[in-house]
C-alpha cells in the first residue's frame, strides 16, 4: 500500500512538475477534509493545478488507478460538495486565479476556475458592467465552486442564479479529454445544452477549467426599504402583492421575529422586536423610476397590513438596514455554536404556509429554529441553532431537517434553491425527482463517468444512506 502511495505521489509530482503543489502531509490533508457543512473526510492527496494540461494528467492518472477526484474551490459549500467522502485526490483550484478578462464589446468575462466571484463583479464594474450572482460568500468563494454548485444569492429574485450567466465552459472529462460547451454568443441553440447540464453537476460529470460568463449593464442606482409586519403570514402575502404590482425588486429578504430579537440583543440597532417579521426590499434601476416604484411597493405592503414602511433616505441608511440582515448569522451563533443552515425553497404563493409549517416543526422538535433568507424567490433559510456536542439535540435537528425537506417538496418546492445537493441532501433526491427521474440522472452520470471517479458519493444516495449531521 505504502509503495503504491509513493508511486502515485511521484507520478503526481511529474504531472505538475512542481512538488510544492502536491500536499501529502497529514496536517495538510486534514485541512482539505471539510467544508462549511458537516462531516470530516480526509483525502489521500491534494493537488493544486494551475493549467488545463495539469488537470488532464491528474484525471488520467486517477482513471488508471481508479482514485476518486474531488474539485474544490475555497470550500464554503453548505451541502458537502467538495468533501472527499471516498478519499482520493482533492483538486484545489484556489491558486488558479490567473485569468479574469472582461470583453466590454461582447459583455462577457473569461475566467479561470479559482477566480474569487466578487472580483469578477469588481472588474466588470470598471467597465460599467455587472455580474449579478452574489452568493453571500462571493468575497471568498471561487467561480469554479459557484458553477459546480449553481450558486444563488439575494439578487436571485430579479437576476436568477449562476446558471443564467454562463455562456460557455471548458471541461475536462472523466477520460481526460478537454471539451468546450456553449460559446461566446448570447444566443446558442446548437445541439444538447451541455453547459446547463454541467453547471450545478457538482463536479460529478466533469471538471470545469474555464468559463465564459455573461455580463449585463450595471444598474445606476438602488433604493432600500425596511417593512415591518405584525403577522408573519402577512409578510408572505406582501411578497406576492409587490411582485404583482409590476415591480421586480432586486432583493427581498426576510427576517422572522427570532432573528430580529437575536440581532437586537447582539447589536442594539433599534429594530422593532415586537413584530413577527421584517422584509428588506431593494430596488435597482434609474433614480427617477426608483422614486415612483418605491411608492408602489410601499402601497402594496400597506395594503396587506404592514405596520410600517421605512425608506432609507440615503446609501448610508440603506447600508444600516442591510447590516441588520448581515448580523443574523453572528447573532444566532451566540445562542448556540452549531448552525444548520438549510435552503429549502417553495413556490412564492406557498411562503405563508411554509412559515406556518416551520413554526410547527420548531415546536414539535423543541429546537431553536430561526427563519431568514431570500423570501422574494421562495428561497428560505430555516436555520437550526444547536450544539454539535449535544447528541440528543442533533438527532432532533436531523429529524426536523428531514421534515423541512418533506414539507417543502409537498408544497411543490425543491430541496435546494442555491446550496446544491452534495452528500447532505442526496438521501432525499428520490423524494423530489421520483425513481425514474433520478434513474435518468444516474444514466447520464454512468455514461460520462463509467468508473465513478468524479466526486463519488454526491447527488446520488448510497444504498441505505440516511440524513446525518454527525459522522463520528
Amino acid at each position: 500500500m505504502e509503495k503504491l502511495r509513493e508511486k502515485i505521489i511521484e507520478e503526481l509530482i511529474r504531472a505538475l512538475g512542481d512538488p510544492s503543489r502536491i500536499l501529502t502531509e497529514d496536517f495538510d490533508l486534514f485541512s482539505y477534509s471539510f467544508d462549511a457543512s458537516f462531516g470530516v473526510f480526509k483525502p489521500d492527496y491534494v493537488c493544486q493545478p494551475l493549467e488545463t494540461a495539469e488537470v488532464v494528467s491528474i484525471i488520467k492518472l486517477a482513471g488508471m488507478y481508479e482514485i476518486p477526484v474531488v474539485a474544490r474551490g475555497t470550500s464554503t459549500s453548505l451541502s458537502g460538495g467538495p468533501l472527499p467522502i471516498k478519499g482520493g485526490i482533492v483538486l484545489d483550484f484556489s491558486l488558479w486565479n490567473t485569468k479574469l478578462e472582461i470583453d466590454p464589446e461582447n459583455l462577457t468575462a473569461i475566467v479561470s476556475p479559482g477566480v474569487i466571484t466578487a472580483d469578477i463583479n469588481e472588474k466588470a464594474d470598471e467597465f460599467g458592467l455587472f455580474y449579478p450572482p452574489d452568493p453571500s460568500s462571493a468575497h471568498v468563494s471561487t467561480i469554479g465552486g459557484n458553477l459546480a454548485e449553481n450558486s444563488g444569492g439575494p439578487r436571485g429574485l430579479k437576476y436568477g442564479v449562476t446558471r443564467d450567466y454562463v455562456l460557455g465552459l471548458e471541461v475536462v472529462t472523466a477520460k481526460g479529454k478537454v471539451i468546450r460547451t456553449g460559446g461566446s454568443t448570447v444566443k446558442n441553440v446548437t445541439g444538447f445544452d451541455l453547459t446547463n447540464l454541467i453547471v450545478g453537476s457538482e463536479g460529478t460529470l466533469g471538471i470545469i477549467t474555464e468559463a465564459i460568463l455573461r455580463l449585463i449593464p450595471k444598474p445606476v442606482a438602488t433604493k432600500t426599504a425596511m417593512v415591518s409586519f405584525d403577522d408573519l403570514v402577512d409578510s408572505g402575502r406582501a411578497i406576492s402583492k409587490v411582485l404583482r404590482s409590476g415591480i421586480m425588486p432586486s432583493k427581498m429578504e426576510i427576517m422572522d421575529q427570532h432573528s430580529i430579537i437575536a440581532v437586537e440583543e447582539h447589536a442594539l440597532l433599534g429594530l422593532p422586536t415586537d413584530v413577527e417579521a421584517i422584509l428588506l426590499i431593494e430596488l435597482d434601476g434609474h433614480p427617477l423610476a426608483l422614486e415612483k416604484e418605491m411608492e408602489l411597493v410601499s402601497n402594496a405592503c400597506m395594503m396587506v397590513n404592514a405596520r410600517h414602511v421605512q425608506v432609507a433616505k440615503d446609501d448610508h441608511e440603506a447600508a444600516q438596514f442591510w447590516r441588520a440582515r448581515k448580523l443574523v448569522s453572528p447573532a444566532i451563533a451566540k445562542i448556540k455554536p452549531t448552525k444548520i443552515s438549510e435552503d429549502a425553497t417553495v413556490p412564492r404563493s406557498k411562503i405563508p404556509e411554509m412559515f406556518q409549517q416551520l413554526k410547527r416543526i420548531r415546536e414539535k422538535y423543541n429546537l431553536h429554529l430561526v427563519v431568514f433568507g431570500h423570501a422574494g424567490d421562495g428561497n428560505l433559510h430555516p436555520n437550526i441553532i444547536a450544539d454539535a456536542r449535544d447528541k440528543d439535540e442533533m438527532r432532533r435537528a436531523e429529524k426536523a431537517v428531514e421534515e423541512i425537506f418533506e414539507t417543502a417538496i409537498r408544497l411543490g418546492g425543491t430541496l435546494s434553491g442555491e446550496h446544491g445537493i452534495g452528500n447532505m441532501k442526496s438521501p432525499f433526491m428520490e423524494m423530489e425527482l421520483g425513481k425514474d427521474g433520478l434513474h435518468m440522472m444516474r444514466l447520464i452520470k454512468e455514461a460520462w463517468d463509467p468508473q465513478n471517479i468524479l466526486n463519488p458519493g454526491k447527488i446520488f444516495p448510497e444504498p441505505g444512506q440516511g440524513f446525518e449531521l454527525s459522522h463520528d
Binding site: D26, F27, I116, S137, A333, T338
Partner: protein, 430 residues
Amino acid sequence: MTSETGLREKLAYNETFSCVQCGYCLPACPTYISFGKETHSPRGRINLVKMAAEGKISIHDMANPIDLCLGCRACETVCPTNVEYGKILSSAVDVLAEYRKKERSRKSRLMRSIILHHTLPNKKILKLIGQGLYVLQKTKMTTVLRKSNIMSAFPKAIESMEAITPEIVLPVKRKRKGNSEIRDKQLRIGFFPGCVMDTFFAHVNDLSIKLLESAGCEVITIQEQGCCGALQHHAGEKKQAISLAKQNIEAYEKYDFDYIVNAIGGCGAALIEYHLLFDSTDTWHSRAKKFVEKNKDISEVLSMLDLSFKKDIDKVVSYQPSCHLTNVQGVVEEPIQLLQRIPGITYVAMQQKDMCCGSAGIYNIVHHEESLLILDNKMKYVKKNVPDVIVTTNPGCHLQMLLGIKREGIQDKIKVVHLVELIAEACDVG
C-alpha cells in the same frame, strides 16, 4: 495519538466550536494569501487545534501551521460568528511550548532564556545594546562591518535586519515622578515607553511625550514600568508574561493617571489584554481590568487634544496600520483622522492596508523566508501607488516597511516614519 491527559482542557477546545467553517476569514489572512494553503488559514488552524484536542492528530502535526501564524488576528475582525481566534492560538502556542520544553537542547534553552527572561525584561541590558549600536553607528563601524562581509556569516534574517536597523538615538531624560497634589494640567498621563521601542525608537517616545506636553498634558514615565510581556506570551512563556503583567499593574496602581499611553501597537495590544491572563474570579482580573481601561494608544489621546500645527507637509502619505492596533485594540480611524488633520497632506489609502506586513513580533526573524513572502505581497500594493511617505505606528512594521522598500529598490523614493514623527514635524515639536 497523544497520551497527554487534559489536552482538551489546555487547548481552547470549546472555542473551536464557534467556527462554522464558512471561510470568511480566508481573504483576510496574510499567510493563507501568501502561502496558498488551507493549512495556513485561520479556519485550517482552528480545525487542526480541534483535531489535536480530539487526539486525531498529534501535537507535532499542529506545530508548523501554528508556528507560521503571524498572530495578526485580522481573522477576528472579519469573522461573522466572533470566534475567539486569539484565545485558540495562544492555547496552542502554550501547549506547543510545553511539549517542546522537554525536547529542547540545553543550548537553545539557554539562548531563549537569555532573550526572553533576561534581555527583554531588563531595560539596562537593552539600553546597553542600544548604546552599543549607537557607538557603532557613530564611529561608522557599521559601514566597516557591512563592507567586511562579516554580516553575511550571520543567518540571512539577521543580515537583512541589520541592514535596515535605524540610527539609534538615546532617549532624553524624562520626568520620573508626578506631583499628585498639583493638578494644573488637563490630563495626567503615565507614559509607557516599552523596551524594544525605547531602544530602537527612543526618539519616537521622546517626540510623543513632547507632543503631549505641548498640548497641555502632564507626562510621567514611571521607573517601575517593566516589559509588557507580549513576546514572551507569543513564545508560549505564559508564566513569565503573567509575572510581567502583575509587575506593571502594581506599578501603575500607585499613580493617579488619567491614561496610560504608549506609541507601540504591539505593546498596546498586550497591555489591553492583561485581564485575559487571569481567571475571571481572580482578584488580579479586576485589577487588570482597571489597568486596561486606562490604556490608550498615542493616536487615541492625540486625537482628543488640540494640536497646534505650524508647518505644511506637502506630501503624499500612505498609512500601514499595525495589526495589533487594528485588530486587537480596535483603533482604526484615529490615526487616519490625525493624518488628515496635518495641513498640506494628501492621504492615499493603501490597497489591502489591513493585510499584515509580515513583521509580527519576531516572526520576521524566526520565520524569515515566510515573512518575506508576506512582505512581497504587501509591496505589490505599495507599488501600485507609490507614496512619498509611509506612516506606521509600531517599530516592527516600521522596520519591515524599510526592508520592503529596500527589497524593491525604492528606498530613495519613499520615507518610512512613525505617525508621531510626522505630527511632531508639522507641529514643529522636536
